[in-house]
Symmetry: C2
Subunit: 190 residues, 2 copies
């Protein structure tokens, strides 16, 4: 792993994207003794329901938690794509909610992976777990956090009594991502 | 309001304390055009289920999001109290989950307010809303975020379809805090 990894998470309120970032950050800290910080900033633009965060993962303690330019983006809404779609590094990885985001003008060389996370969550009868599906998808497609560490971070971060459905959601997202990778179904934007 | 306010939030995983911090930060940004940052840091100690965050609220943009010494603590577990109970400024405000925290050795001059948030949430039939009850309690006891801004932040931050129960939870927490203030039932540790 590189020394530092910068990850953008963005969507709309209620998708649970902050918890997703929290869990990924925790997984990174569990896995291989890494450090991470998760930061959200609010200014006068906080009215409305858009929602974003910056997650940094590092091999050493993080003194400055703001990102310079992300190498991974998790984008769960059209608004989020409009706002943050263009900032990704060339060669970076973009994960999008397939039914909610129409990725246009993705930066050159970006690897794009799409998952119908909301639909998969609805099929489980619990739309609220779409963020946990996304955590699994992130682990499988990027490899930044391992299956085991991510799973442990999910288990210890969700409300007591909901572990089972959330672990199931995590595994569904992971499996979806693993299959995309196996099938070499990733789209490389040229 | 002072120029900067530093708030510690701590509890165990699953209590939704990060979302509570997120909503309070958003409320501050909505209310009176303030700025806020919310940060969680994870190190190798992230195993287990403890969970904390630093929330800064300011009248101007925040360049350095780490707290120096909090003037408000929201403490939802015994572990969290052991770890963070001693750091509060003299004259600060500590909010605790009444049934989960036994506050001992609170710093001198701290105003302590307790709420049985978990029990109140259970009485609503949805234990998961205890964090939103806490947001209401924070607004009523500290006045740092207004009722209206906090309410709007709750409404735009919870999963679609759950607004009603969450707004109800917010109001229950607010009302509980307002009554404590009215009854001058606050305990000033000497």
């Amino acid at each position: 792993m590189k020394k530092n990894i910068e990850i953008r998470l963005a969507g709309f309120g209620g998708q649970g994207i902050i918890l997703a970032g929290y869990i990924i950050g925790k997984a990174a800290a569990i896995f291989d003794n890494k450090f991470s910080t998760l930061i959200q900033s609010f200014g006068p633009e906080a009215r409305g329901s858009s929602c974003s965060a910056q997650l940094l993962i590092s091999k050493s303690q993080i003194l400055y938690p703001y990102m310079i330019q992300p190498e991974v983006s998790i984008i769960l809404s059209t608004d989020a794509f409009d706002r943050f779609g263009g900032e990704l590094k060339s060669g970076g990885v973009m994960l999008v909610e397939q039914d909610l985001v129409q990725p246009e003008k993705v930066p050159k060389g970006v690897k794009l992976y799409a998952i119908p996370a909301t639909r998969l969550a609805e099929e489980m009868g619990r739309k609220i777990v779409m963020n946990i599906i996304t955590v699994g998808f992130f682990s499988a497609t990027t490899g930044i956090t391992s299956f085991e560490a991510s799973r442990e971070a999910v288990e210890t971060s969700v409300p007591p009594g909901t572990e089972e459905i959330n672990l199931k959601a995590f595994e569904i997202g992971y499996e979806y991502g693993r299959k995309l990778i196996e099938e070499k179904a990733k789209v490389i934007v040229k």
